[in-house]
Assembly symmetry: C2
Homo-oligomer: 469 residues x 2
Amino acid sequence: MTEIRPLIMCGGNGTRLWPVSRAALPKQFASLMGERSTFQQTVLRSARFGTTQRPLIVTNALHRYLVEEQLAELGLKADVLVEPDRRDSGPAILAGAREIAREEPDTLVLVLASDHVIRDEAAFRDAVAAGLAPALSDHLVTFGVTPTHPATAYGYIQPGAPLDEGSWAVARFAEKPDAMRAAGYVLDGYLWNAGIFLFRAGALIAEYERHDPETVAAVDGAVTQAKRDLDVVCLEPGAFARARRQSIDYAVFEHTARAAVVPMACGWSDIGNWDALWSLGAGDPDGNVVQGEVVMRDARGCYVASDGPLTSVLGLSDIVVVASSDSILVADRRRAGEVKEIVASLQSQGRPQADTHPRVHRPWGWYEVIDSGTGFQVKRIVVRPSGRLSLQKHHHRAEHWVVVTGHARVTIGDDVHELGPNQHAHIPLGAVHRLENFGNTPVEIIEVQHGDYLGEDDIVRIEDIYARA
Amino acid sequence: MTEIRPLIMCGGNGTRLWPVSRAALPKQFASLMGERSTFQQTVLRSARFGTTQRPLIVTNALHRYLVEEQLAELGLKADVLVEPDRRDSGPAILAGAREIAREEPDTLVLVLASDHVIRDEAAFRDAVAAGLAPALSDHLVTFGVTPTHPATAYGYIQPGAPLDEGSWAVARFAEKPDAMRAAGYVLDGYLWNAGIFLFRAGALIAEYERHDPETVAAVDGAVTQAKRDLDVVCLEPGAFARARRQSIDYAVFEHTARAAVVPMACGWSDIGNWDALWSLGAGDPDGNVVQGEVVMRDARGCYVASDGPLTSVLGLSDIVVVASSDSILVADRRRAGEVKEIVASLQSQGRPQADTHPRVHRPWGWYEVIDSGTGFQVKRIVVRPSGRLSLQKHHHRAEHWVVVTGHARVTIGDDVHELGPNQHAHIPLGAVHRLENFGNTPVEIIEVQHGDYLGEDDIVRIEDIYARA
C-alpha cells in the first residue's frame, strides 16, 4: 500500500458536549467513550494502517501542550502545527498540506478529524484503500458516509460518474437540508459529508491556488516564516491572519472539477451532541446508557454520565444527565443540540464554567483548586517529568507546599533543594521561588495559599522555559 | 397567658429529602428553606410565644452536638435530653414529660416537631391559646391541621363533641387512608394528625401509665438514673431499652378518653419530600422553584436546588434536581416520595452517600476531605471556640497542618505552642498530638495526611474531653 501522511485536525470547540467539552479542553481531548480521548483514538487508528508516516497534528496554541501530553500518554511521536488563530478548516488544511509539501509535494495526505468515532475500522481502511487510485491520479477524494437516517446536521454529497473501483466523481455538494429534503437525499443515494479527505499535498494546493491564490500566498508565508522548535511548527501569525476564513468545502471542494467520493459504512459518528453518545453506547435492558457512579430506578432511554458525584435518576425517560464536579446538565435527550445555547448564555453571564474546567492544564502539568475560603486557597499541583514552573514571585500571598508524590526541586530565594514525599516548604510573601520536576515520575504537591488577594494574575514571572515570562 | 414548656422532638431521619437529609445530618438540621434550619426555626418560634420557658430538646447521641451548635448559632439556651436509642415517639415524649414533671408535674408541655414549617405563626399561636383550656382541665390536646387536599400521607382525626371555645373531644383517630377514603375524610371535616400536642406533664404520664405501666416504669428509671451534665441529660440506656417501641398515638392517644383536638389552619407542612418543598417555594413565572447556582431553559414546574455545582436544566417539566458536592438526585417530581427507596438501595450497597455527608460534624467542630490520592489525603478542619480535639496518635500517617484562620494551640509530643494564620506544623508518624481552640473565633486548618493507610479508624485517643478516649 502507498505511504500516507495523516493530517489530524484538532481545532474544534464542541460546546454541544458541555459540561465535559469546554473551550479549554474540548471534546476531542475528553474521555467520552472509554479511557482514551477521540484524539488519541484517531492517532492510534492512523498508526494501525501500517503504511502511514508520523502524523501531523494541526491545533491551536491553547491546546498545544494537551496534544503533547496525550501523545506522550500513548508513547507516540507526531509533528505539531500550531495555528496562531482560528481561520476555519480551509487555511488549516492548506497549511498542513504546505508543510507536508515542503519535503515532498507528491505525498498522499489523509485528513482526519480528531473528534470522530469509527467503530468498524476495517471498513474504514477499505474505504481509504479505494481512495488511493483517484488520489494518485490527482483527484481530491472525500469520504462520504452512507446515511443511517435522514440527518439534518450534515451536508450531503451526490455521487456522479464512476471513476475507479469504489470511487465516483462528485456530482454536487448539498448544504445541510431540512428534514423533508434530507429524506429525499437518502432515497437518492446521497452520502453524508464527513470532512475526511485524501489527496496529494500538491494537488490540494494547486486547486486552492486556482480558487483563492491570496490565501495560498498568505499560508505560504506563514509556513516559510514559521518558528520551528523540534517537533513543533508555529505558523507566523501576521501572514496567517491574511488567509481567508473559510471551510475547505467552500474554499476548494465545491468549486473543483477534481472532487471524487468514496462511500463508506464504518460506524461513523461525529458525536455531535449527548444524544449521539446515547446512540453509540451499550444500553442496558431499559435503554439507559450510564457511565460513572450512577443509580437508575424506573428510568428508560436515558444517558447518564458522572465523573464524580453519585448520580441517581428516578422515574424519568429520555433525559440526559451529565455531572462533573462544578457543573451539571439535565436535559431532554431529544433537545441535546440546544446545549450550545446554554453555553452561550453562561458565556454572556461571564460564568467560568462555560469555558474552563476546575482542572487547569499548563505546559508543565495541571493544577486544580480543591478548596478556598476567606484569605486562603488550596491547590493540588501535578508536575510532569521534565515539567518546570516559572521562576516567580507573588505580591499578595505566601504559600506552603507539601509534597505527596515524587521528588521536586524547590527553589526559594538562593536556596535550592530536593523535597520528597511528606516534606514541606514555606514560600514567604514576595520570595522568588520555583517548582521543578527532574525525576521520571510525576510530582504531586498540595499548595496552601494565604493572603489578601489570591487571583492567578498575582504572578511575576522572572524566567520561564515555555516563553511565558 | 399560662406558662408553657416547649418539648421539641429532634430524632427523625428524613430519608425522603436525600441527598440533603442523611442520617448523620437529617433534614431538621439542614438549611432547606432560608438560612435557618427548621430546628432553629422551631426553637425561635417557640421563643416568640413570650410566655414560654426554656425549651427541652429531645434528640439522640449522634445529634447532640449538632443541637448544641445550632442553639449556639441562635444565641439561645435550651435543655437537651439525649435518647440512648430510638424507641419511637411514645417513650421520647414520655421521657420529656417525666423530666419536666421532676420539677413541677402541673407544667403545660407543648410538643413540637423540629422538621415542620408553619407559615402563619399568628394562626398557630391562636390555636395553642385555644388548647389551653382543655389542657388545663387535664385533656391531652392534639392540634389537627385543616386539610388543603385529600392527602394519603397523614393520619386523620375526627372531631367529636365540642369542649371549650375552639376545641373538641376526639371522636376517633383514623390511619393513613387511600385516596378515595381521604377524599371522604376531607368532606366529613376530619383533620390531619400533625403530631403537635399540648398537655400537663402529669396528665400525659397518668394516661401512659393507664395503658402501658411497664414503659412508664422503664422511662422513670431512665430519667432518675440519667447522667446529668450542665444542660444535658443522658437517659440511662439499660432502663430506656425496656420501654416499648411505640408511637405516642398508639401508646396513648388512640386509647385515652381525654383526647381533645384544636383545628388549625396555619400554613403547616412537614416537608415530607421534595415535592412539598416545591409547593412551599416561591415559583418563577414558569412554576420553577430554584435555589443556588441554577440555569433554567424552557423548563416548567421544576424544583432545582444546588449547594455547589452550577446546575442547568433544559426542556424538561415537573422534575426535581437536587445537587450536592458528592450526590445528585434527578427525579419525577410526582414520585419524589420514592426517594427513600433509592436511599435504601444505596444503604444495601454500602455506599457512604446514603447516610453521611462529606462534611463530618464532631463535638469540636467539623472536617471535610477536600482531596485524596494514592498515599495522601487533604482535609479542611474547623474547630469551634473552646473546641478541643482528642490527644491522639496515628500508626500509619504523618500530618502537616497549615493554619489559615484563627489561633490554634498545637501539642506535638511535649511541645505546646500557639500557631496563627500562615503557620505550619508537622506531626511525624506516631507522634502524640492535639489541636485545640482557646480563642473566641473559629480555627481553620488545612491538614495534609501522608501514609500507607488513611482510614478514620487509625486513631489512638489518649485523652478526650468528649469522653471518646
